[in-house]
């Protein structure tokens, strides 16, 4: 079994535009999560959860932010262990290819992981903007 999630996507947009979308706080806040973020190595960022329910923030440190590679740690508040999210962009003939890698999942302690799943039921999933009904069903089914 793998300890890694990888995603690949292609967008018919220039690389600079995609880079801005994933690295500028104002844009991240629009499509992803409300963010206090700077694409600067060492910056302590916060993805801010909505205020309702018992939502928790995501925090972390930017490890690398050189066009077109963005790496930051990913820590769900009230959990101890960090995972790592890496974004890589590559220009193609008609747009941009995006590679996403989320790793380090096995570092989660068993109890922490279980607590996290329980917190999804408490609305954490709902905090992360609008997750699909499919996901909510999946999490609640647990």
């Amino acid at each position: 079994m793998k300890d890694l999630i990888t995603k690949e996507a292609h967008f018919n947009h220039p690389i600079e535009k995609v880079w801005n979308a994933i690295s500028k706080a104002e844009e991240i806040s629009t499509w992803f999560i409300k963010a206090d973020f700077k694409a600067e190595s060492g910056y302590h960022y916060t993805f801010i959860a909505s205020q309702k329910n018992d939502c928790v923030n995501i925090t972390g440190v930017v490890i690398e932010a050189t066009p077109y590679t963005l790496i930051y740690t990913w820590i769900v508040a009230h959990t101890e262990v960090e995972t790592t999210v890496k974004w890589e962009l590559e220009a193609t003939d008609n747009g941009t290819r995006l590679y996403l890698e989320h790793s380090g999942i096995s570092k989660y302690k068993g109890d922490t992981a279980i607590k996290m799943f329980e917190s999804f039921n408490g609305g954490w999933a709902g905090c992360m903007t609008e997750l699909s009904d499919y996901l909510k069903k999946l999490v609640n089914a647990g």
Partner: protein, 107 residues
Amino acid sequence: MQDKITRLFKAISDPTRRDIFHALVIATSALSISQISNQFDMTRQGVTKHIKTLEEAGLLKIQIQGRERFCLAQPNELEAINKWLKFYEQFWDDHLDRLGDYLDHQT
């Protein structure tokens, strides 16, 4: 000290252990160390070592009956890893879709 998920990953990282675990999962009853040795053409010692790692990860239970030890798979333990992966698989799928929509509609 190793935590639970790390032990799980360690246990299933080895192809032989995965095969043994798989054999136990599809077996309708517990298998003895001898049965596993025969099936995998391995020494009892070799099997015992793998069984111990799987047991430490909570992936099987050992029952002693007379002079023989029987192994019973506990596949539910993999649930924790699966749920984590499933959650984030879906999370990133959804958000990459949103990123695509955002890029398409950005003026």
